[in-house]
C-alpha cells in the first residue's frame, strides 16, 4: 500500500473516531433539508423550479459554512501534530514530507466530500423527486454545486495547511484561520462592493470585476454556481454580472483548481524546509 493511501486512510479513521465525519455530515444534511423544505416556502409558486431555488439558497449558505469547516479541519493538521509530538515520530518513517501533507489533504477532502454529497444529495432528491418538472439542467446545476462545494472546501483546506506549516504555535494558527475566513468570506466582497460604488463604473468594467473576483475562491464558487445557468442567474440576482462579465465554467474551474494546487504546493515546500 502506498504511503499516501495509508496516511489518508488514517486521517479518515481519525475523522470517524473523533466524530468529525458524523458531525459535518449531519450538519450539512440538516441545513440542506431545512432549506429545501422551509426555505422555498416564502417563494410560493414562481416560475422557477423549486430545486433551482434550493440550489441558490444552498450555495449562498455553502460559501459561509464550507470554508469554516475546512479551515477547522486543517488549521492544526501540521502544527497540532508538531506540538503534541506525533509528527516527530511519523517523519522518521519512510514517508516524504509532501506525502504527509498530501495524505492529510486526501483524507480531509474525502470527509468533506462525504458530508457534502450526503447533505446536498439528500436535499436534491427530496425536492427533485417530490416535484414534477425538474429539468435535467437543474439537476446538473445541483451536481455542479455539490462538486464545486467540495472544491471550495479543498481550497480552504490547503489554505489551512499553509497556515499550519508557517506558524510556530497552534494558537496563532487558529487566529490566522479566523482571519482568512473573514477576509475571503466577508471582507473581500465588502471592499469590492465599496470600490465599485466609489468608482461608479468609471474605470472598473464588468470583466475587470470578474477578474478581481478570481482572487477569492469563494467568489469563484459564487460565479460558478450562480451565473452559469440562466435560470439560476435570474433567481440569484446575478444576471447583470452573468450577462456581461461572466467567465466560462472551464475558466472558473481552472481558477478554483489553482486555488487548491498553489497553497497545497506551497505548504509542502515550506514543510519540507521546516525543522521539527
Amino acid at each position: 500500500m502506498s504511503a499516501l493511501v495509508i496516511l489518508a486512510a488514517k486521517e479518515i479513521r481519525r475523522g470517524i473516531r473523533n466524530r468529525w465525519v458524523v458531525a459535518t455530515t449531519l450538519l450539512m444534511l440538516a441545513l440542506s433539508l431545512s432549506i429545501a423544505f422551509l426555505g422555498s416556502a416564502p417563494m410560493g409558486t414562481v416560475g422557477a423550479a423549486r430545486l433551482s431555488v434550493t440550489v441558490v439558497s444552498l450555495s449562498s449558505l455553502t460559501i459561509f459554512l464550507i470554508p469554516l469547516i475546512a479551515l477547522m479541519l486543517s488549521y492544526d493538521a501540521v502544527i497540532g501534530e508538531v506540538e503534541n509530538g506525533t509528527m516527530l515520530l511519523l517523519l522518521t518513517y519512510p514517508v516524504a514530507r509532501w506525502q504527509v501533507i498530501a495524505g492529510k489533504f486526501l483524507g480531509h477532502t474525502a470527509i468533506l466530500a462525504v458530508a457534502t454529497a450526503v447533505g446536498y444529495g439528500a436535499a436534491g432528491l427530496a425536492v427533485g423527486l417530490t416535484e414534477d418538472g425538474t429539468s435535467s439542467a437543474v439537476w446538473l446545476s445541483l451536481a455542479t454545486m455539490t462538486g464545486s462545494s467540495v472544491m471550495l472546501g479543498a481550497a480552504f483546506l490547503t489554505l489551512g495547511y499553509l497556515i499550519s506549516v508557517i506558524v510556530r504555535e497552534r494558537g496563532t494558527a487558529a487566529g490566522l484561520a479566523v482571519a482568512v475566513w473573514l477576509v475571503f468570506v466577508l471582507l473581500f466582497d465588502m471592499s469590492l462592493l465599496g470600490i465599485l460604488v466609489a468608482d461608479k463604473g468609471a474605470t472598473l468594467k464588468a470583466d475587470a470585476v470578474s477578474l478581481l473576483m478570481m482572487l477569492n475562491p469563494a467568489d469563484i464558487y459564487r460565479m460558478l454556481n450562480l451565473t452559469t445557468s440562466p435560470d439560476i442567474a435570474a433567481l440569484s440576482g446575478m444576471v447583470s454580472l452573468g450577462g456581461r462579465g461572466a467567465l466560462p465554467a472551464g475558466v472558473l474551474i481552472a481558477a478554483l483548481t489553482a486555488w487548491i494546487a498553489v497553497p497545497l504546493g506551497l505548504a509542502a515546500l515550506i514543510f519540507r524546509r521546516r525543522e521539527i
Binding site: 481519525r14 509530538g85 506525533t86 515520530l89 517523519l91 518513517y93 519512510p94 514517508v95 525543522e275
Partner: protein, 307 residues
C-alpha cells in the same frame, strides 16, 4: 554490508544563536552498540535528529547508510531505521493495535509482525484499548515496539529505559544484544549510567554540544586515570598498624576501626594487592571498587568545563 552505518564529520548545529552541536565527528559500524551520555542539553537529542534528517546541520556532513538524511533519497533508507523519541506520543484517540498497524503498514511490515512485537513488550492485553488510557510506561513500551518494526539496521533510542520496570529493562537489553549480533547498529542515550556498563561497545560522552570522549568503557577508565579503591577488613584494633605497613604502596584514604580504605592508580592495583596478600591472615577481607561510570563521566565533563 559495506562501510559504516553512520558517518558524521565535523558537524555543527545551531538553533538561532545557540550552539547545540559543535564540531562533532563520529562513526558507528554495523553491529555496534554506542551509548550517548551527557547532561540535559548536551546535544544528544539534536545529534539523533541530525541522523534522522529532522533537522539539518549548519556545517559539516552527516551520512546514514551513505546518504544525507535530509535529502529525499534518504526517505527509502528510513525503512531500515527505528527511532524511539525521548518523550514518545501517539494519537490518544487511537488504540494500541491501530497505531501499531498504521506504523507497520508505513514500514511495509506485515501487521501480524507488529502484533507480535506488542506481545514482546507485554502490551498484547492493552492493545485494544485507546492510548489515552495508557500509563507512561505503557506508552514507552509501545514506542519501543514501533522502533523495532521491520528489523531495523539502525536503531536510535533516546532514553529508552525510562519508565520500564526492571525485568522489562533486562528484556530490553536482551533484544538490543540480539539485534547487534544480527548486524544492527544501535545508538542509545541514557541518564542511568550504571546500567550501560557491560551493555554497550562504546560510550560517547557529550558536553555542551561537543564530543569529549568516545571509546570503550575500559579505555575511558584507563584514560581517566581514576583511582581504584581498596577496602580492607582487619581484626578490630589492628587497623592503624596495618595502615602504617601499607603506607609505602598506596594512598591512605581513611582508617576506621576495623576498616582501612586505600586508593591507588589502575596500574598499581596488582602491586598493592600483592602487598596486601603478604600481610597474611591479619587481613580478613578485601573489597576492590573500580571507578564507576559516573566518576569516569564526571571526570571527562569536568575536564572539559575547566578547559
Amino acid at each position: 554490508m559495506s562501510g559504516p552505518t553512520v558517518e558524521i564529520s565535523n558537524v555543527h548545529k545551531s538553533y538561532g544563536g545557540k550552539q547545540a552541536v559543535r564540531d562533532l565527528s563520529l562513526t558507528v559500524d554495523p553491529g555496534e552498540c554506542l551509548a550517548l551520555v551527557g547532561h540535559n542539553g548536551a546535544g544528544k537529542t539534536t545529534l539523533m535528529k541530525l541522523m534522522l534528517g529532522l533537522v539539518r546541520s549548519s556545517a559539516g556532513s552527516v551520512r546514514v547508510f551513505g546518504d544525507d538524511p535530509g535529502e529525499s533519497a534518504a526517505v527509502r533508507d528510513r525503512f531500515g531505521i527505528g527511532f524511539l523519541p525521548e518523550t514518545v506520543s501517539f494519537d490518544a484517540a487511537m488504540t494500541g493495535t491501530e497505531v501499531m498497524a498504521f506504523f507497520a503498514r508505513l514500514k511495509g511490515v506485515a501487521v501480524a509482525d507488529g502484533m507480535a512485537l506488542l506481545e514482546r513488550v507485554e502490551l498484547a492485553d492493552a492493545a485494544p484499548a485507546r492510548i489515552k488510557t495508557y500509563s507512561k510506561g505503557m506508552r514507552q513500551r509501545l514506542g519501543l515496539a514501533q522502533a523495532l518494526l521491520g528489523e531495523p539496521r539502525l536503531l536510535l533510542l533516546d532514553e529508552p529505559t525510562t519508565g520500564l520496570d526492571p525485568n522489562l529493562r533486562q528484556a530490553f537489553y536482551g533484544i538490543i544484544r540480539e539485534l547487534c549480533a544480527g548486524g544492527t547498529s544501535v545508538i542509545l542515550s541514557s541518564h542511568i549510567l550504571t546500567e550501560l556498563e557491560a551493555r554497550t561497545d562504546r560510550v560517547a560522552i557529550m558536553n555542551q554540544g561537543r564530543l569529549v570522549a568516545c571509546d570503550t568503557l575500559d579505555a575511558l577508565r584507563d584514560r581517566a586515570g581514576l583511582a581504584v579503591r581498596v577496602r580492607l577488613r582487619v581484626k578490630q584494633g589492628d587497623a592503624a598498624a596495618i595502615a602504617s605497613r601499607l603506607r609505602s604502596s598506596a594512598d591512605l584514604a581513611r582508617v576506621n576501626g576495623q576498616y582501612v580504605d586505600l586508593a591507588c592508580g589502575l596500574g598499581d592495583k596488582m602491586m598493592v594487592l600483592r602487598d596486601i596478600a603478604a600481610l597474611g591472615p591479619d587481613v580478613v577481607d578485601v573489597e576492590i571498587v573500580p571507578p564507576t561510570f559516573d566518576e569516569v563521566y564526571n571526570h571527562f565533563c569536568l575536564k572539559e568545563d575547566r578547559s
